[in-house]
Amino acid sequence: MDDKSLLLVFRRAPYGRSLSRAGYDLALACAAFDQAVSLLFMDDGVWQLLPQQRAERINARNVTSTLASLPLYDVDSLYVDNPSLVARGLDPSILIEGVAPLTETAVRELMADHSQVLVF
């Protein structure tokens, strides 16, 4: 039980459904209970990392604000799957700060390094 660690994988674009919110809520719950948690964004989940989203125009909660609040709760292990960025023509430099791009091999290692992986 000592080496439990949780990796939350976000694979959906923000706003279309509320599932990613469930993932963020779980990340904050882990922080509240002092449990290690890492976040990985891949596939359409990489769209969550674009800055200057104007979610209020569709009456949605802004995911950028949620992401910005995570370091306040010591949730600061954020990763993005670089091939997912390349496939969508996105350069890592335009994303919000504090997210580390990973190669496919590094993503595999990240998943292997965690005792539990949950997908949102």
Partner: protein, 130 residues
């Protein structure tokens, strides 16, 4: 082995709920321990006792309740997900000044800490739906 399940979709709307139920039965029939079933996101609708299944459909809630009664399985609805979707126990109905409680008594409303706890105390945490 000690298992916990995470159920994310509403009953009938996706095959995942039925898969979770079948998996839960298989776990206990194989002699493993089912530590907790955590219903999160749309999955909390499994606990809505006011939902009436169609006559030609199975009663998934009754099946979960029977499993819980027979094997002392902890069925937990995420409280934040549940109250947003109108699944309230007596406490929450009172707190939010609603006229009726809608949560089935076989299910307990509790916080995400119960999912974190399940992660910590189970050998496997298996997700259904998403």
């Amino acid at each position: 082995m000690k298992f916990s399940l995470l159920v994310l979709n509403s009953p009938g709307a996706a095959q995942s709920g039925d898969s979770a139920l079948a998996f839960a039965r298989a776990v206990v029939e194989a002699g493993h321990e089912l530590y907790r079933v955590f219903f999160y996101h749309e999955g909390v609708q499994h606990g809505d006792r006011l939902a009436v299944p169609a006559q030609d459909d199975i009663d998934r809630q009754a099946a979960w309740a029977a499993l819980a009664a027979d094997h002392k399985v902890d069925l937990v609805l995420c409280i934040a997900s549940a109250i947003r979707r109108g699944v309230l126990d007596e406490n929450e109905a009172g707190r939010h000044e609603q006229t009726a409680a809608s949560a089935h008594p076989a299910f307990e409303l509790s916080g995400l800490g119960q999912l974190v706890d399940a992660h910590l105390h189970s050998d496997r945490l298996v997700t259904f739906g998403g």
